[in-house]
Symmetry: C2
Subunit: 524 residues, 2 copies
């Protein structure tokens, strides 16, 4: 795509056509500046097939805010909309609407609350709450979801991989397999969620992290093609990077060629006063090869060099590798714990595309409309009850138990305060018979999760650094029940409604169904 | 991300760190301007789990070329590289290398051959062949793969969905679930591969397609919240878009409310001289609901309105819906073929992320090096023989049989011409005992697939339009054996080597293994 085209494709028109047709309809009806509220939330955790997430890590907010602050209707955008015609050749968008859009096609009227990036989040909890004039709040939907769905998906995957790798160093390597420029958002989300560094040079510099990488198979191939050898290639690398020497050992044969050659070069380095960094294994049985390589490195006097593993790693593969090392290493007189503590994970494809569940189903639902100064709740009924959003203004509380663990997220109506309730009834969001009751004193802490981010388009929130988001994530994950963190079949964390919100929702559903039946009667 | 940051993250530094560390090593060794050849290819078709692709659709080239023509080393890029330090605090990149990079950090020296976009392609066939100076050809790797892997993945998925939907109109709806800005590349690839239109406004305008969309559930909700009804919402829509009236009927209850209300509005429209477009179903049992909706529309005198289906569609879901319609429709006196011919598919998440296989494993491998004017083949041995690339300069031939169907893709050495062989031996790329022999006269056509694209950085190729790519795709898919097009367990299309290329590859592997053993002996 050319530069000028990118301005068109990545600005305010990064939206779905129906947002614009609805906006024009609202304009025509005089509803376009009516104040409304949309909630953004996801309905279920990623299910990767064999394994499932029991929590998500929220991410993407800062880049959404960046986009909102620059995206606005330019003359060029209007020019394209003006040209568009419908089925019978008539223009889709009329001049008066386009004039309005040219003046008002920006997000200066939007106010927003959000759960900060890096926080553990759960289904059906509003992660982002948008209030603003109807037309622009509607046009925002697509880009908001686009920005938030993917980063939350990847931060979640990264957190799982980080957990599975027991917190060992983890590098994001996915740029070549990412979905086009999504790569950069993915790298950022990975850094929030669990990766320590990325190989992606540009985005690493933007975010203030040194990019990581050494050499590829092609370097060894090149030396061989020029009548040299793997050893020559390694020596050249050690000459140029004596203090950052990490060698990829599987171009020819890992144990017969790569590791012995690496050891030879490491010995030369050490004689010159440099300490080698380690080796990388990129194919074959990574558990077996890492045991054998560790044994060879130990015997040669390099017990502390890193062993970087890469090649389609994800949380399950790492879990399998660690299990195999624990079982198999002692047989070769290798201490499994020592080996595990020298491992580094290079995670590419399966992190950057969230292998197994490559999309998060975040949605953005109208929950309230302000009419003549009074807020009215909006409802959408679904044949699947779980898809009926929770109406109206709400507050999101996280309740901690006496161990300090998060025990539930609770949605209340805006003017409710569970801290003042003697006994808190936690209603299942959809099943009428399912609830539990918590005495006030069994809750050690009530935390409000949403913070004010935008007030009428103005940033009123101090954006945290990625380091702060990571700290936030570590704290939140630590306060989860271990069962919720489990890679497979995690415990279900409770997301509940207060009794009042639950009752309110039920009455709105009944009312809407009544309305529907009335309409049909008038048709029949 | 801010605008200035995006220039950093999406320009020449959209690459992996190891490309730069290798480039500096080559610079240090005086190898950086040595002419080399890299081949880009993928190793296997997408395997979606329950179903598998038997062919891919090539896509992404034009946007890669756009990127190559603008990406170059700017002072700002150099500034970041200069700041980067290694493990012991020393700078990673030295001034002389950075000076060279500032002058030469562009793709003006790159020549490229490629298979055009929209063509059917198969594993292990070079899709893109890059020749150029080593350092820059190496730096190109990551961005090339990033640009080509994703679009080919999505064009392939789109072709399958299009095929499954029997060529009925198909709309790309995935922006909100796409991987950040990858959405735009995905929409383009979908349009090449099988989608007729996209809901994504910006990219549709860039590519010259009218974006498609009507209204969401939120519009109906809004009217209800303001004390109106679904019917009011539909009437408002019909008033504003009388000639493009397509109504989403599942906000309340599809058959009890949505369809009857839509029919009422359609009747009003017709009385005013407008023909309604149709309805959209977005939840529930889409096969059953489309049968019932069709019956109601037929009875009301609207037998030709479209029925748009959406909600997690993919090739298998569509196949299932069509099968169910064929079995179930006659029971309700609905003609299944007539119903199927009025269906339109809105395909979102599962297309834009290639659900089931969200990444294509395209690779970029060094296959030849020019030393003192002589090209030498390069080889990489792998413990998995299928991962050993085919060395040296090659030509790619597509052979057609007497029915005009493609029967094999054949890789030959650069100076071989299978048209001159009496009997063509097609060698399996890895299995020594597996080959077949084709008499010259059984081949109706030999087609060379690679075309010249760049000559020393200069575009020497007339870029086809998306319409031309689509025509190309339709022709190519038509010329596939039906078994190869099958959604599940497709026939394996043959990709073969000529006898000479095969023998050459074997001797290089042996030589490299001999070299490896020699190295190890000298270590021990």
């Amino acid at each position: 795509m050319k530069t000028e085209e990118r301005k068109l494709a990545e600005g305010i028109l990064l939206t779905d056509e129906y947002q614009l047709t609805m906006a024009q309809l609202y304009f025509r009806m005089g509803l376009h500046e009516k104040l409304v509220q949309f909630d953004h939330f996801f309905r279920s955790y990623p299910d990767y097939g064999l394994h499932q997430a029991g929590y998500c890590i929220n991410a993407g907010l800062e880049w959404l805010l960046d986009w909102m602050q620059t995206a606005h209707c330019r003359l060029e955008d209007i020019r394209f909309l003006r040209k568009q015609t419908g089925r019978t050749g008539q223009r889709v968008f009329s001049d008066d609407f386009l004039e309005w859009l040219e003046q008002n096609g920006n997000f200066e009227g939007i106010s927003m609350q959000a759960i900060p990036e890096g926080r553990v989040v759960h289904p059906n909890v509003p992660l982002t709450v948008v209030q603003g004039p109807l037309a622009m709040a509607q046009i925002l939907e697509t880009s908001l979801l686009n920005h938030l769905n993917y980063q939350t998906l990847i931060a979640t995957k990264a957190a799982r991989i980080h957990d599975s790798g027991r917190g060992q160093l983890m590098l994001e390597f996915g740029l070549r397999r990412a979905h086009d420029l999504g790569a950069n958002a993915g790298a950022r989300a990975a850094l929030i969620g669990g990766a320590d560094f990325s190989s992606n040079v540009g985005i690493s510099h933007v975010l203030g992290f040194p990019p990581k990488g050494t050499h590829a198979h092609s370097m060894v191939q090149l030396f061989i093609a020029l009548d040299g050898s793997e050893l020559d290639a390694f020596q050249a690398y050690a000459d140029v990077y004596p203090d950052d020497c990490l060698l990829l050992v599987d171009t020819i044969d890992t144990l017969e060629s790569g590791v012995p050659n690496a050891i030879k070069v490491f010995e030369q380095l050490r004689r010159k006063g440099h300490e080698p960094v380690g080796i990388r294994l990129d194919s074959g049985d990574l558990a077996y090869l890492s045991i054998q390589a560790a044994k060879m490195l130990d015997q040669a006097g390099f017990p502390d060099t890193s062993i970087v593993l890469s090649n389609n790693l994800d949380e399950l593969v790492i879990w399998q590798i660690l299990t195999q090392i624990q079982q198999e290493a002692p047989r070769y007189d290798v201490d499994p714990e020592h080996l595990i503590n020298r491992l580094v994970y290079g995670v590419g494809t399966r992190l950057i595309v969230s292998w197994g569940e490559p999309a998060l189903g975040g949605v953005y639902k109208l929950v309230a409309v302000c009419d003549e100064g009074k807020w009215l709740p909006a409802i959408k009924i679904s044949e699947t009850p779980a898809k009926t959003p929770n109406p109206g203004h709400k507050r999101v509380w996280r309740l901690y138990d006496h161990r300090g663990n998060a025990t539930a997220d609770l949605l209340s109506e805006d003017d409710e305060d569970p801290r003042k309730m003697e006994c808190i009834r936690l209603r299942h969001p959809t099943r009428p018979t399912q609830y539990r009751e918590l005495p006030r004193e069994s809750v050690s802490e009530f935390e409000l999760l949403l913070v004010e981010v935008l007030d009428q388009g103005k940033l009123v929130y101090e954006l945290p650094t990625i380091e702060e988001m990571r700290d936030r994530r570590l704290t939140d994950v630590d306060r989860l029940d271990p069962g919720v963190r489990r890679l497979m079949n995690p415990h279900i964390y409770h997301v509940s409604l207060t009794e009042r919100l639950w009752q309110h929702k039920q009455s709105l559903v009944k009312e809407a169904l009544g309305q529907a039946n009335k309409d049909v009667e008038s048709v029949v």
